[in-house]
Symmetry: C2
């Protein structure tokens, strides 16, 4: 199998990223692949922030996975930074290929390089396959994730 590259996302990757965000039982209801403008604006803001890492996984020139890693400094835990993972998506054709594991392992390694003392993420209660996946990678389901839509 050809080599996998994990690199920062650029504007050219946005159509492929948004297609993956929308190709999902939850994402289908809340994304707008027909209008990329808000995504391009958001990526500009993210690219300008050294604590933000929107990444794509690319094989043979094709974007097949994405995630966002945020380094979030804080006061608790003796002033520790935490890493937050959001927006993990794997192209339908690539599910079960181990790509999700490679992406999360990249994020964990990068979090260590940035001196984070913890990596955290939340996963919708309905995504039970994802929960088993994160537990296999060593994550602990120790918290309840609360959301308030504005």
């Amino acid at each position: 199998m050809a080599d996998l590259e994990i690199r920062p996302a650029t504007a050219e990757d946005v159509p492929a990223i948004v297609a993956m965000l929308a190709d999902d039982p939850l994402g289908a209801q809340r994304e707008s692949p027909e209008d990329l403008t808000p995504y391009l604006t958001a990526l500009e803001r993210l690219a300008a922030d050294p604590n933000q890492h929107v990444m794509v996984a690319v094989r043979e020139g094709r974007v097949i996975g994405t995630l966002q890693l945020t380094v979030n400094p804080g006061l608790s835990h003796k002033g520790a930074a935490r890493a937050i993972i959001e927006g993990v998506r794997i192209h339908t054709d690539e599910r079960g290929s181990g790509l999700g594991t490679q992406l999360i392992e990249w994020a964990v390694d990068e979090s260590r390089r940035q001196n984070c003392r913890m990596v955290q993420l939340t996963s919708d209660n309905s995504r039970t396959d994802a929960h088993r996946f994160y537990e296999r990678l060593g994550f602990t389901a120790s918290h309840v994730g609360f959301k308030l839509q504005l």
Copy 2:
């Protein structure tokens, strides 16, 4: 009761903030009130970042509450920013006074002002009183919060 002020934390507030972080069944094991250096370093980094808001609640010159609000831009949800709340602490003497509600309501209002489409936080599975508190404030326990210590 004297007026409550909610304002950004300064270096002078750090001893009171760390005392609150440590005065907690979980925090007691992981904070170092005897050495404030790492907290002061972290606060400098946080104060330089326009997406970070470490706040204190002050009454009659006394720091009685704190939280950290982070504005986290992202691609999903049509390029929406999310607000993340971390490190919510209320001084022991002030619990049950409604101060927690005032702090979270401040954070929700500020998140709206910053065009966030969601406010999110995680709470340790053991903090069942906190879970009821967030549900009363309109949050939904829709997610599982995963953590990996590094």
